[in-house]
Subunit: 209 residues, 2 copies
């Protein structure tokens, strides 16, 4: 079946390891392209232009908003963050599945605009395990860990709106399952409308002969 | 995630090879159970009771209807055909995915009763290929081939109501894809309601501590 790529939105609580899952997909399979966000915040040490983010000033960002150049955007801590539309559309047209790592509000906005977007939510095996992972990082104060756990409890309300929930128990398993789920999604009728139409017409034509 | 099995309905035009796909799934993976239909028609040579069908008389069949013992049934050429409910429920409870090979009308009836049933439609790569396969069997008259092609054209109208469409180009690929699609379906929110509820409650509890 000839087809466009799928817009794949990956969300998950902080500490679930969704970044590693995205990294694994990009590394192990050729069918993916990673969407890079645009932001007005300053680069942190080690962050690269066009790899971590597209770093722009407010004026440029607001121009993008005005020109409908962003799929979604949000303001957070006085900075803008958004998803440039052009790159995403280009990759989809070339048949690549575009991965967007984004939080739940953005994910639902994307689903409104792209009804065939695939929404994946990565979950920890349990809440206790999530806490263990956050504490185990050793880089966050107990207050931050607590804040993230509360945030996760809020975010959990929206899980039912995702298409698939994938448990990150072992990273390799999680990457493989995510890949399989994306491949399965290629086979839904809504993503194969032209093929269905084609075979219908062909069947009608042949059976009239 | 602890879970019940999935009721998997497999449909497809005559000549698409769906029987071989079902056979392959049963042979290659242990997670499946095959639902066996009940019918009032007489066994044909080589057909075995409890393997091909459960063969019963009209009285017994009508009793099953009255007792709500069938998931769905239909009358075809003066004979009843139906799906016994008890075996299916038992296997699902034990976590096995139950496969039902059934035509489109029955499939849609099942989806009404079991909203979490997974509806798969096996398609040929093209209408021309379907005709080649039907002719190639060498067992059917041109009239029968024609009738089947017309039937396929009618059935094609309903494909959009299925969850997934799987092309049977190479049998082994088709079996593997079907298996992957079923495994992906295990990860949908609707089939993991208790897990979602559990992790939500756990998160709320932990973040209140």
């Amino acid at each position: 079946m000839k087809r466009e790529g799928i817009l794949v939105v990956i969300s998950g609580f902080a500490g679930t390891g969704k970044g590693s899952v995205v990294h694994g997909l990009m590394e192990q399979y050729e069918q993916y392209a990673l969407s890079i966000s645009m932001t007005t915040r300053n680069p942190r040490p080690g962050e690269e232009e066009g790899v971590s983010y597209f770093f722009v000033d407010r004026e440029r960002f607001e121009e993008e908003i005005k020109n409908d150049g962003l799929i979604e955007y949000a303001s957070y801590c006085d900075n803008y963050y958004g998803t440039p539309k052009k790159y995403v559309q280009q990759q989809l047209q070339e048949g690549r599945d575009v991965i967007l790592e984004i939080e739940i509000q953005g994910a639902l906005k994307i689903k409104e605009q792209f009804p065939t977007a695939l929404l994946l939510f990565i979950v920890p095996p349990s809440a206790a395990e999530l806490k263990r992972r956050l504490v185990g990082r050793g880089t966050e104060t107990p207050e931050v860990v607590e804040k993230r756990m509360r945030r996760a409890a809020e975010e959990a309300e929206g899980i039912g709106q995702y298409d698939y929930i994938i448990v990150n128990d072992s990273l390799e398993d999680c990457i493989r399952k995510t890949h399989e789920v994306i491949n399965a999604a290629r086979l839904t009728p809504v993503r194969n409308e032209s093929f269905i139409k084609e075979i219908r017409n062909e069947l009608v034509e042949i059976s009239r002969k």
